[in-house]
């Protein structure tokens, strides 16, 4: 499983950060498709996390202010304007900086973008990509630390994807820009500076999970930054002879049932771990599906249903780290 190079001859691997990988994918797509524009606050200078900066230059220097559009702090209008742009023939990339701010644009995303194609009987489509970074951002407290991916997985009309690696941030953004329907694109606030090898020729389809680590004892499904914690937990457990298979789900809707069911069919157990609050989290959907389809034992691990606190001691209570994941596995197998 996993990302397969389309053409070995055309593959060129480079080392990029997660932020650079997205900028690289966006620049390539904008180069080949003049309908793509990006809009959001502070994009002109390259984005506050450098996610609109490539080779040290803001993308606005390459594409101009008409295509990399600096906007007022008007999240509702940013999202709503993107809907209007899409209905009028453009393919807008919406930058919300953090998902917490995107909540000011929910009518525009939920009532308009997600439903326009359907409720107009297919007369128009809304091919927008809404970048709304999720996750705990160290010491940023309750209004800058949420993981709300389950909200959007619940909504008909939206694709939902959560890249965890620079390779996937390149590949999934490329796929999202080609998708033709609204994509809720959930990068993680603490992954911007992580780096990795990126092969720009690799296609990462929406809806396809990746087995990040093969194993036999138990299947651990996760996504976004929690992948790093899951892999660390798997390494730790391997020292005790517990062989965990780690699946990076990558896309939450449509999620890759086949890969998950095939894996749990082999290992016989499923643990889903996510940074989002466990109650009504997307892990429940996966666990329920596996239980229904395979009758296997399932467990979930997510954050307690508390806001993220500022003090390090409080923030730590909301975090699911490698230690908690390993502990959950050990407790289960004991």
């Amino acid at each position: 499983m996993g990302a397969q190079p389309l053409s070995a001859a055309g593959s060129v691997s480079v080392t990029l950060t997660y932020a650079q990988a997205a900028a690289s994918a966006l620049a390539a797509a904008m180069q080949s498709d003049p309908r793509i524009v990006a809009l959001g606050e502070d994009l002109g200078r390259g984005g506050v996390f450098g996610q609109y900066t490539l080779d040290g230059q803001p993308l606005a220097a390459r594409f101009g202010p008409d295509r990399i559009i600096d906007t007022p702090i008007s999240e509702a209008n940013i999202m709503g304007a993107a809907v209007g742009m899409a209905l009028a023939g453009l393919k807008p990339v919406v930058e919300m900086r953090v998902i917490d701010f995107a909540l000011c644009g929910m009518d525009e995303l939920v009532n308009q973008a997600a439903k326009n194609r359907y409720m107009f009987g297919g007369q128009g489509r809304v091919p927008l990509v809404a970048r709304m970074p999720i996750g705990i951002w160290t010491a940023s407290a309750a209004q800058h630390s949420q993981s709300l991916e389950a909200w959007f997985a619940h909504l008909p009309g939206l694709v939902v994807t959560c890249p965890a690696t620079p390779q996937d941030n390149h590949g999934l953004l490329t796929s999202a820009l080609a998708c033709g329907d609204p994509v809720v694109y959930l990068e993680h606030k603490e992954l911007w500076s992580t780096s990795g090898t990126v092969d720009r020729s690799v296609i990462v389809p929406l809806g396809r999970a990746r087995i990040a680590r093969p194993g036999r004892t138990l299947t651990l499904v996760t996504w976004s930054r929690m992948l790093l914690e899951a892999l660390a937990a798997a390494d730790e457990l391997a020292r005790d002879g517990i062989d965990v298979e780690v699946i990076d789900l990558r896309t939450l809707w449509p999620w890759d049932r086949d890969t998950v069911l095939e894996s749990v069919g082999r290992t016989g157990r499923l643990l889903v771990a996510h940074e989002a609050v466990q109650v009504a989290g997307f892990g429940a959907e996966i666990a329920a599906t596996v239980a229904e389809e395979l009758g296997c034992p399932v467990k979930r691990l997510g954050a307690p249903r508390i806001p993220v606190g500022y003090a390090p001691t409080l923030e730590a209570e909301a975090r699911i780290g490698a230690g908690k994941i390993a502990g959950a596995v050990r407790g289960w197998l004991a």
Partner: protein, 342 residues
């Protein structure tokens, strides 16, 4: 106002405006009748006969001059966003009356294939990008569509209708600011029927209302008697000249909603004397009197008759048309992952 200014030009123009208004009135009256009796609401009992137009139906009866006067200045390739009270705008923009009635009846041959109904009626073939079930929601969409038109370098414009209630929602402020910051070709039309759902807007609106708020952001504005179709036509035409040149503008048209918030709402919360006065200022009657003064009284009668005949035919077609096949519930949702519904 397009065309010349001589008496013959004026008569031709007024005939066209009146015809649009008559078609809207006939459509709204027929839809109102077709919506009665299906549900128990607003203190009224269900008749036991299922309504053919189901669900919330927001009528623009009494407001026809705004739709007709503004849209007479739009080209077919201009774009339009509308409100939950959007039949008049849609008809005036050129949508087919039969396809619209089919949509209200929820039939497969409706403008939206029966997926939207009255509140989401749209006809992209004439640039009508949709009515909207959320107050003020069309405003950001209109700015984005105008943004796209500007980037494409065309002289097309977007016309954005909203009601007086919408100016108290945030997207009104965000959208007007956006349009002015980027110099977008959008005409905002505040169709002020003086009541927001069931609450008089004046009791809920601080300051000088739509005009003052738009002027504060530097938009060109005009206020007009929204029941005088020629005045609306003239004011909209002047503003649209500026809009087409790349400057947003706002038109405030004051009118009156003859009916309740929805078609089965008798509107008992309004002062009967106010309603009586308003009914005496019927925009259709005013336009008819002017046509009569120009010696075109017979023409006006013929146009009203023709509109009723047209709507009768639309009703018959809608009645006969099939509902969408249940399988259509699963089309136009998403391409990515289509076929997976659970």
């Amino acid at each position: 106002m397009a065309g010349g200014t001589g008496p013959a030009d004026r008569a031709t123009r007024l005939r066209g405006l009146f015809r649009t208004m008559a078609r809207i009135r006939a459509f709204e009256d027929a839809a109102e009748v077709a919506s009665q009796g299906g549900v128990s609401a607003w203190g009224l009992q269900a008749s036991g006969t299922p309504a053919r137009v189901r669900g919330p139906l927001h009528l623009s009866t009494g407001q026809e001059a705004v739709a007709a006067g503004v849209c007479a200045n739009l080209r077919r390739d201009d774009l339009l966003t509308s409100t939950h009270r959007g039949h008049g705008h849609t008809l005036a923009k050129g949508a087919d009356m039969t396809a619209m009635m089919c949509e209200l009846f929820g039939r497969a041959s409706g403008t939206n294939g029966g997926k939207g109904g009255s509140m989401h009626i749209a006809d992209f073939s004439v640039g009508m990008l949709g009515a909207n079930g959320v107050v003020a929601a069309g405003i950001p969409i209109a700015t984005g569509a105008a943004h796209a038109l500007k980037l494409a370098g065309t002289d097309r414009i977007v016309c954005c209708f909203f009601g007086d209630g919408a100016i108290n929602r945030g997207p009104f402020l965000e959208g007007l600011n956006w349009a002015q910051v980027y110099h977008l070709p959008v005409l905002f039309v505040c169709e002020d029927n003086r009541i927001a759902a069931t609450t008089p807007t004046g009791t809920m609106t601080a300051g000088g209302g739509a005009i003052a708020r738009a002027a504060a952001m530097g938009l060109t504005t005009a206020s007009v008697d929204g029941n005088d179709v020629e005045a609306v036509d003239d004011a909209a035409g002047r503003l649209i000249d500026r809009v087409r040149a790349g400057q947003p503008a706002l038109l405030h048209a004051v009118t009156y909603r003859f009916k309740g918030h929805v078609s089965v709402d008798p509107g008992r919360y309004r002062d009967p004397a106010e309603v009586e006065r308003a009914l005496l200022d019927d925009p259709l009657e005013r336009a008819r009197e002017r046509l009569a003064a120009l010696g075109l009284g017979e023409d006006a009668r013929a146009m009203r008759d023709a509109a009723r005949t047209e709507v009768d035919s639309a009703l018959a077609a809608a009645e006969a048309a099939p509902f969408p096949d249940p399988s259509m519930a699963y089309t136009d949702v998403l391409d990515c992952g289509a076929g997976r519904w659970t």
